[in-house]
Symmetry: C2
Subunit: 207 residues, 2 copies
DNA sequence: AATGATTTTAAACACTTGTTTAAAACAAAT
DNA sequence: ATTTGTTTTAAACAAGTGTTTAAAATCATT
């Protein structure tokens, strides 16, 4: 009875790879089985169906995707430091898992009317305390008057999009993989400075 | 012989809708035929195969997607005005066609190793003259030292991502469709100010 | 070594897929 | 009205899909 967890984990790992890279609709049960080095029937023996297996993978990926964000929000840093750290963490995560944002957004779209329910992680988001913190920072004048929705949109957009649009941007500028890797590192400092300068404007004279 | 163009256009319109909303892998030939209100065989009578039909749709969509960007770059405005106008145009386009960026990026990813060749529009991008213009603006000190790759990344990310991540962001903040529509309008002014302030810093004292 | 449960496989099932065929419906021209 | 060519359809095809079945292989326990 020791083979159980081993093969079960092997299937999950294989399914995660296949689902994330090709998406639910563009891959087959047999493809997942082959990736895991076994029979199709065995996959269904452990997980009943392709859809059931997918739901499990989807939830863990969704969890990973949201976790780094949430963690930073729960730290004791100042709001400015939090934003800076959040960009670092996002970049760190996306460097390791560049296909996850696309995967999450695609599968959310595929099941928008029925099926998958949103992971609870999403609902816990509003209770991290940053929202009050940001409201106070805005009242005190420390931070610019930007609502939390736009704040999260700014950070998500500037962090995620460069990873999501890699192929397009590379083609657009005729860059190699290695060149784009360098670019994306350089780009992090740019968006960090841009966002922080915008949210926490420097009021010293310069001219 | 007058029915030809009519049905052909009907098929193309239906295919465009279906391909864009569900993606190539997640839709079937019969689904496209049904959307066009006709038989499956008729679709293949005009376009030979699902793949052939897709390639035609893909190219027109890709063309539309790139066109608004290119047009702005060819105007006679100042660089700062160009960036501002570009954001407006992008927003205008994305409001009308919010699913296109996701569609383009997904289908590029699906055919990254073989199959679809990149539309020529992408290759013409480097010859719009903005690149030299930006280089000069940077030398003169008018514009911050940001390479063209990061410049395009900034604009694309902040314009496209809010439309691509609509579902996620809405769920994250518990917003209705109408609320998000308002948010996205407000957000345009935010990113415009943020990007312009960053690229063309104001050097007047404030304290 | 034999038993019984668990794990794995090969084969089959019903169904959907993209595509093709051959016949029907239609239009235009004689 | 008949002929000719074009457009549309219903039906079929082979291949691939998710899923199930029943038998084989493996394991732990006696």
């Amino acid at each position: 009875m020791c083979k159980t967890s081993s093969t079960e984990e092997k299937i999950k790992a294989a399914a995660k790879r296949v689902f994330i890279t090709k998406g639910f609709s563009a891959c087959t049960s047999r493809e997942i089985a082959k990736e895991a080095g076994m029979n199709v029937a065995l996959v269904n023996y452990y997980f009943r169906s392709k859809n059931q297996l997918f739901l499990i993978i989807y939830q863990t990926v969704m969890h990973d995707f949201m976790l780094s964000m949430m963690e930073v929000f729960s730290t004791e840093l100042s709001l400015k430091e939090k934003v800076s750290l959040l960009i670092d963490r996002e970049y760190e995560f996306l460097t390791k898992h560049p296909e996850i944002p696309t995967f999450v957004l695609n599968e959310m779209a595929r099941n928008k009317d029925s099926g998958i329910q949103i992971h609870e992680t999403l609902n816990n988001f509003a209770q991290t305390g940053v929202f009050n913190e940001a409201a106070n920072a805005q009242k005190s004048g420390e931070m610019r008057q930007v609502d939390m929705v736009s704040l999260t949109m700014l950070i998500m957009a500037n962090c995620q999009h460069p990873f999501m649009a890699r192929l397009l941007t590379q083609q657009l500028h005729g860059m190699t993989d290695e060149e784009y890797n360098m670019q994306i590192i350089k780009h992090k400092e740019i968006i960090k400075e841009m966002i922080l300068n915008y949210l926490f404007p420097i009021k010293v004279s310069n001219e």
